[in-house]
Each structure stands twice: as C-alpha cells, then as structure tokens.
Amino acid sequence: MNEKIPKPMLNALAREAAPADHPSADVLAAFVEHALAKGEKQSVTDHLARCEECREIVFLTSDATEEEVQEPAGKLVAAAALGEQDHPAVEQAAASIQRPFAAAEPRWRSTSKWVWAVPVAAMFLLGAGYLLRKSYVAAPAEREIASKTVPEKASGPPEQLPEATPALPAPAAAAPSPAAKGRPQMAPATTPPAQKAPTVNADVIAMNSAAPAPAGRATVHVKSAPPQPSPEAPVIAIGGAVAGTAPTAPRANGFAPTTGEIDRQYRAADSLNLSVNRALAGAVRTAHPGWRVTLQGHLEHLMSEGWSRVLADQTSAFRAVSVIGNDVWAGGNDGMLFHSGDGGEHWNRLSIPSASGTETVTIVSIRFDDAQYGVVVADTGASYSTTDGGVTWTKQ
C-alpha cells in the first residue's frame, strides 16, 4: 500500500503548516470519545491532518483508552462502595452509560464482545443434535408410530414382533461412530418395556432395524464373520449404509447440521430404509454372511441351492444370530438360544439360568468374540455373558 502513494504528495502532506491554534484538551478528549458533532469533528480532523503534535496526543490518548465503556460502571461501583448511593452523580454516571455521546467504544470492539457466542451456539446445537439422535435411538417405535402411518404388511402375531431389532450388518455398523462409543453397547437396553406397542408392524420394525448407525444398536452386532458371498448382502448393506450416513451427512456449506436438519435427515433416512425394506421380499430382520433371521422369525442358512430354513421345528421366533467360524449362535423369544459348533449341522439348546429356573426373556442380540466368550442381550435390558461357550452365564 505504501508504494501506491505518490511521493511528492507525501512530501507535500508533510510540509503542510500546522495551524497555530490547537484544539483544547476538552475537544480532543471529546474527539477520541466520538462525542463531537459532525461539523466540529471535521474541523478537528482537518487540524489533526496537519498537526503532527496533536496527532501524537490523540493516539497516545486513544492507546490509553482501553476500558472506556467499563469506566462509568466502574465509577458507579466505586461511588456506591464509598457510600455515595445518594450522590446525584451516581445516577448521572449510570445515565451516562446510556448517553449516546458517551459511546466511546469502537463498534468493532462491541461486536467482538459477542464472538464467544458463536462457539457456544455451535456447542449448543451439537449437544441438541446429540440428544435428538439419542432420543431417536431410545424410542424408535414410539417415534414411528407418532410420525408415520404405515400400512400393516407383516404376517404373524404382533406380540411376536420385536420392538427393536439389531441393526442389519453393514459396513457402517462394523465401525461404531464416536458418538456411540460412550453409550451402552446394547441399544435395547435403553428401550423401556413400556414401549412394547402391540400395533407395531413389520415394516416399522424392519425400518427400525436399519436404524441409524450412531444408535448403540448398530454396535450390538456380532462380529462380522469372514466375508462370504451372499446375494442379499449388498442390498442389506445399502440399507444399513443409508441409515448410518444420512442423519449425519454434513451440509453443503460445511457447517454441522442443525437439530431441525438432523430431524429431517432422520426422517428421510427412515423413509428410504422403509422403501429398502419393502423392496426386500424376504424381509430380512438380521443376517450374517450365510446366515439370516427373517422378519417372520425364521433362522435361515445359505446353501448351494439357496436359503434354507434351519431349526424349523421351533415355534418361537428367532431374533438374532451370531457367527464365528463354524460356531453359530441363534436366539430369540422365550429365552430360546441355540449353538452349533459345526456350521449348523448339529444344534445344542442352551439355557440361561435365572432365579426361578430358566430365563424366558427375548434375546435380541448375540455377540461372541470367540467360541468361548460372548454376551447375550435381552429385551429387558439385561445382558448375560459367558466365558465357557455358553455352559455358564453371568447376568450383568
């Protein structure tokens, strides 16, 4: 910028003679405090343009003026502390804070005082978004019943249908979101029993089963078995990916979505999941490569000729399946829990002991880290762990 000013002009500016009469200290103080009328301010500015000495004084004064706005309040407090509450000047000082001529603080400084509100607002929005997502996880059935009118398509008695099923295994579900790390790993544990609404239909359940990835439910799942070719897997993955990414999709402008936008995204994701699940003729509830549980509560295994129902003699509906190599665990209503150590050729029924004999809770999630150690979660929120392949169970 300095190179642009013509040097002769700069020299002429420096040679301008300073006027003999200087503004009084009173006027200079009023100039610094922006308390002069327009015409007088212009005449003082004109003087300052030619008088180096007055410019020096004005800038020294301006530099020393840092807490200009706080000073009247400070004087007020000081006067009050000194027992001068009845002093008229105290009231005058308070009034001077409101006086337009006393507004000496630069506008940009008064604006910058509110800069802190930006991160605070951002934190508030993030927190609200987090709580909103959490509420979506906690009460999906209620939300859907309240917000959607979905025609019933499910076959089978409603009471056998789950309120919340584990999410479909999807790439997004394998890696829990950071927001979900601090939560209980089992989403059904956060679902109160009172949410067992008999009017919940299969589509709603299916949609909820593909609920957004941040849900704790998404991390409940059994570990992914070694990838096996499965014709339904891509479709399921699409549904899971949509559910996992849509609510957290960033806005086009790069800012975090607002709670309203999160809500809309959730609704959009739910609608899309609903469509995806309707498109799935088999209506899969939960699946592993080579294994799945249909919405009818059937456990199926992928054979060379296609999907084949396993343990078809069981009247209770299956709800979850977990696969580690050749070890397969499947569980469902009425405390039903089966284990196969040979890839589904032979099955052993396991029982989870309780104080009154055997647990009859609905098993909604099974997760085994290896053949010996695993955790089973019931719809009541209780979880049972075993360290010996299901011989003994410990309630947690």
């Binding site: 002769p8 002009m9 500016l13 200290a25 800038f59 020294l60 020393a64 008229p88 000496a104 630069p106």
Partner: protein, 305 residues
C-alpha cells in the same frame, strides 16, 4: 501546547436555554453538595457555551448543553474552586485512573509516576508561593469525559516533556544513539512546478478524514489497528479506505501530470523519484544485490571451484 482557558470574568447573562437547562439539571448535577448554587451553575454553563458557541438558536444550544457531562463539569469546577469535598470525590474516582493512564502513556513506572505527580500538582493548582489557586481543572468544559480529558492532559504533558528532553539531548547521547553526523544532504533538485501543482490540486481535493488517514499512516507510521481504534471501525475498513485513497490519488495525479504535458513514463518517474534519499537507498540496495549475485552465483562459463 497552549490551552484555551475557559475561566475568567463572565459578563454575559445566561441565555434562556442555559437558564432552562440549569433549572432542569441543577439537582441532578450534584452542584448543591459542592456549594454551587443554581446561579453559579448557570454561570458555569454560560461560560462553556460562550467558549464553544455561538449557536444558531436555543434548540441547538439546548442540544449542546444536553451533550455536556454536567456532573463531571460541576465536580471539576468545584475542585478548581478549592472545595474539599469535591477534591475527596475527585481523588476517590480518578486518582487510580490518573496513574494508570500515565503508565499506559509513559510505559515506564518511574516516568509514569513523575508524569502523574506533576499533573496532580497542576490539577490542585497551588502556585509556588502557595497563595493563588490556578487549577488546571478549570479548563475542563465537560465536552468529553473527565477521565478522557485527564488522559489528553497527561498525553500533552508527556509530549511536552519528550520535546524538551529531545532538545536537550547531549552530543554524547546522540553518538550513543548512533548519530553519524554525516555531511548535510545535498539540496534536492528543484521540483517540477507541474508536479507541485498536480499534488496541490490532489491534496485540496481530499477531505479532512482522508488527509488525516494519509498523514497518520504514511507520515506517523501508525498501524491499521491504531487508526481503527481511534475511529471506532474495523481494521479492514481503514485498510480499504487507504487503498481507495492511495489508488485514486495516484491515478489522478498521474492524469494531471500527463495533462500538463508529461509522458506516461515521466509522470510515473515524477511520482516515484522525487526524494533523492530514496535514490541513494536504491543505489545502495543495487550494489548489495550485485555483490550477492557475484558471490553466490557463477556466470555461465566460469570455472567451478
């Protein structure tokens, strides 16, 4: 720097606006507790109005009176008149800020204390014989805050002290500061009258604020932050203003020079190369660059060491 005194015999009768304002604000001004009656209060206001006016009509005068810091004006005048209660109030309110402002201006503890103490004596206004009170507070007119006025007075005092010290700088001190005492600069070539005319016309076309910004930024080397703080705007606003002023001034001066018969090249040179000191610097820089090049770069064909 001379200060325009505002005290002195008041011959004028208070105007209608002053009388009305005094009647309305006498109680709230706190003048009564300092022993100033309403007539004396009106006299103080009249004095300020006479120093600032004349105003066109009563409404303008009333607007001016409303803008005054009446309570601080009354306190200052009561202090100048030697009212003890007023002095107690003044010291309670302004003693700390007096020293703080002095420190912010002088930057060193000892200089700030010296500055504030000397000002304090002037504010109290006892002469060398201790007979006559001529307080500096009698100059305060209530246009700005009393605190701001104190800062300006401190800054004036500081500048005055600095000037006197600078005048008294010894030869040894000057040598220690690195003064070279070289031969006087050769007289610059007589400026082209066309350049002077173009520059004078351009300066006359600038308004007061533009000339103030140019002087503060280019002559005083004030920063954008300092200018922004003084004017109460953002730094970017000052930067844009300066950019606009300098670009426009350069363009217009160049145009005037060309209209006066200069070629474009001559106009550019006239705007750049008038200050012979800059010429000397450029020659020096050129020599330095030439030496660097010879030291670190080998011309094509030179043998490698």
């Amino acid at each position: 720097m001379p200060l325009a005194p505002t005290s002195g015999p008041i011959e004028e009768r208070p105007s209608a606006a002053v009388e009305e304002f005094a009647r309305q604000h006498y109680v709230s001004s706190g003048a009564q507790q300092f022993g100033i009656d309403q007539a004396a209060f009106a006299a103080v206001l009249t004095q300020v109005v006479l120093q600032t006016g004349p105003f066109g009509d009563d409404a303008a005068e009333m607007r001016f009176l409303t803008s005054l810091r009446v309570d601080e004006l009354v306190l200052a005048r009561a202090c100048a008149d030697g009212n003890e209660r007023a002095w107690e109030t003044f010291l309670k309110r302004y003693r700390n800020t007096l020293y703080e402002s002095a420190y912010k201006i002088a930057r060193t503890e000892s200089a700030a204390r010296s500055l504030a103490d000397s000002l304090y004596a002037e504010l109290y206004g006892v002469d060398s014989k201790g007979q006559q009170r001529t307080s500096k507070l009698s100059y305060y007119q209530g246009r700005g805050s009393l605190q701001g006025w104190l800062r300006v007075v401190i800054a004036q005092e500081y500048v005055n002290q600095y000037r006197s010290v600078r005048r008294e700088t010894s030869l040894d001190a000057a040598l220690q500061d690195g003064a070279q005492f070289t031969a006087p600069e050769p007289e610059a070539a007589v400026a082209d009258p066309r350049v002077e005319a173009a520059v004078a016309a351009e300066l006359a076309g600038l308004d007061a604020e533009e000339r103030f910004l140019l002087a503060a930024y280019y002559l005083d080397h004030r920063t954008l932050a300092e200018l922004a703080k003084l004017q109460g705007v953002h730094e970017s606003t000052i930067s844009r203003k300066l950019e606009r002023i300098t670009a426009g001034a350069r363009k217009r001066v160049r145009k005037r020079l060309m209209q006066a018969g200069m070629s474009a090249r001559q106009a550019d040179e006239a705007m750049e190369d008038v200050d012979v000191r800059d010429l000397r610097v450029r020659v020096s820089e050129t020599l330095q660059q030439g030496r660097s090049k010879a030291t670190f770069y080998k011309e094509k064909g030179e043998p490698q060491e």
